[in-house]
Point group: C2
Chain length 380, copies 2
């Protein structure tokens, strides 16, 4: 039965539908679950049952679904299992899933296209601030090795649950940069992706986790995860340890005009703390779905908003205390406008952080701080 020449699972059909297969003669139930995180839903639901044939092979066809990069798992008798037909895995610090690519216009930016590719290095650097040596990923653009040029630098910070691998694997940052640079839409640059969890020196699949990391899969934030937001510990190490190291080890344009910082969720909050306490270092600043309630002394509990049933994510009932926020970033006033080349905020309208995001917008408006805003429909 297993020797039959079935197509490899998942099989992506020309119309964008997808067939999954799993040989599981002893299972009572098998389903496939979309674990993409809400930004890319399946039209008929994010968990679908597979059907057993008389040989014990389960299958289901979904879609057509939108061209996109998805992640999924099988659920076998209630337990998550990876697809044995698919060795492509994405993970962050707390979960993993199989990768599913339905090619189309939306995936072109993320695909490995026939363009010049940059390199990604896993590099250890000394961190006197946090102790010991720590691991980071550094993208150098196509042509870096052969040229003698110096390049601008983007410090790109991951979200909670991620680590130094998150932007290169789940985030597909190298592919996006290769493609943007090839199209002339981004200047060739060095991108530094650190591990933003101050109590973790390297990703958990590289160094074993500390003994008191909680049981994964409980869905409950642990004291360590909250501590791991690492504000202000991680930003301190970024500016004291990482930036000087990068400016020595790489051919950088080591000036604030050519140094950017951006981050997702937890990394967005770390970005604000880092940038606005170090305006001598950074002049390009971006937050993607910034997780500002992770900043210490900042979060306040709020009533669920009227559209709470539509919102997703963990922070529907949280916002920020403007005074607490300004205590952490006291330089956040109209004087920054002349110093910044860009302050960019992005969020999805159904992100559970949208209320917080609006509160930050109002705070920026009240302080006279200018910013570019990208509000994307849905979870984005």
């Amino acid at each position: 039965m297993l020797g039959q020449q079935r197509p490899r699972s998942p099989q992506v059909h020309a119309d964008g539908s997808v067939t999954f297969w799993l040989a599981a003669p002893d299972a009572k139930s098998v389903a496939v679950r979309n674990t993409s995180g809400g930004y890319a839903d399946w039209p008929d639901g994010n968990e679908l049952a597979l059907v057993r044939d008389d040989q014990g092979v389960w299958s289901a066809t979904i879609g057509p679904i939108e061209p996109e990069y998805y992640s999924y798992v099988f659920v076998v008798d209630g337990v998550q299992a990876l697809d044995p037909g698919n060795v492509a895995i994405v993970r962050d610090g707390a979960r993993y899933g199989n990768a599913l690519r339905v090619p189309g216009p939306r995936t072109v930016d993320y695909d490995v296209n026939d363009v010049p590719h940059g390199s990604v290095a896993h590099v250890w650097y000394p961190s006197p601030t946090l102790g010991g040596t720590r691991r980071m990923c550094v993208y150098t653009p196509p042509g870096y090795e052969a040229s003698g040029d110096r390049y601008p630098v983007l410090y790109l910070l991951h979200g909670g649950g991620g680590d130094e691998d998150a932007w290169t694997t789940m985030g597909r940052a190298p592919q996006i940069l290769d493609n943007l640079i090839a199209r002339g839409e981004a200047r060739p640059m060095i991108v530094v992706m650190t591990n933003g969890n101050p109590f973790q020196r390297a990703s958990q699949d590289y160094l074993p986790p500390a003994p008191d990391v909680p049981l994964i899969g409980t869905g409950q934030p642990s004291p360590r995860m909250v501590r791991n937001a690492g504000i202000p510990e991680f930003p301190e190490s970024l500016v004291r340890d990482v930036v000087p190291y990068v400016d020595v080890a790489y051919r950088t344009l080591a000036a604030r005009e050519t140094r950017a910082i951006a981050g997702l969720s937890m990394g967005g909050a770390q970005t604000f703390y880092t940038a606005f306490n170090n305006l001598d270092l950074f002049s390009w600043v971006a937050s993607f779905s910034g997780g500002f309630p992770l900043m210490p002394g900042v979060p306040v509990e709020i009533a669920p908003p009227a559209n709470a049933s539509k919102l997703r994510g963990p922070d529907i009932t949280r916002s920020i205390d403007p005074e607490g926020f300004l205590r952490l970033v006291p330089n956040l006033d109209s004087s920054v406008n002349a110093r910044l080349r860009l302050l960019y905020l992005a969020i999805g309208t159904e992100d559970g952080l949208i209320t917080t995001h609006n509160a930050v917008k109002h705070l920026l408006d009240a302080q006279g701080v200018k910013y570019a805003l990208m509000e994307l429909p849905g979870y984005a």
Copy 2:
């Protein structure tokens, strides 16, 4: 139930025993399977049933087991499932498993110790010989960035089923090199780890596989897997494309006296083909469990040896035809002794390739070729 503060799975106890946990209230059976590949067996068997408690949480304690790096999977109602408590995964091109480390003297060489660490870069290089650009991993030793020194180079080839990630993830080459260099047992060197499958430009989790890659999990070699042994295609690209690229892009000592080549299994066969057809390039040569029957025109079928029941691996009934072997590596005679700094052969005495290995030894003896031999007990 899931919210209970159970230890993270797997829990490694001080005596070297290990407890696994899985919440699976709807499962009929759960087992844990050692997938380390035979070199590291568990004393009470490599598949053990977990026992269900009244809350649907399954557990089992194994061992004490030898300090070692293991891989394992859960088997839930007959289906392989990764441990949701353990984000550490090892994979090659055809399978994946969770990593389990039982620390002890045997793991010190593989651990991330508090020593200076080299960097590992994922690099694309042009390959006119095989077409397009291809991805490889390059280890540069501690101090490379800051020094202006030039370094010797080791070309390190993976086994069948592996790809350019195999030596850095499953093989833990960066850790081994860091530790050997720190102890003064290896000279700081650059290590180049290519993708040795000529029909695969990058690992399958980076680029989707070609459409005719067979269903994984059938256990049957496919025409593509055999073609993928890539002898002589891959060695041609290694010497024409990779070596010149590395000697330009890195500060190498670009001479045969400071250039080594070594490989595991399929990579051992590729090493022989590469080295002995390019003695102007390499003077240090090593084969680990060389898969010589993969060389075209070489394999012969033989009767199972007397100790067949003890042997493991796919090649118990295969050996080599010396004439076919010498047609592929016609320079393999006593004249190489003066040119080589080292020819090193390693194998486990219970490896299914041991008969082949002995045939190669006899061939080398007959040709007057000197070599160093490491025969390790067991599967090694």
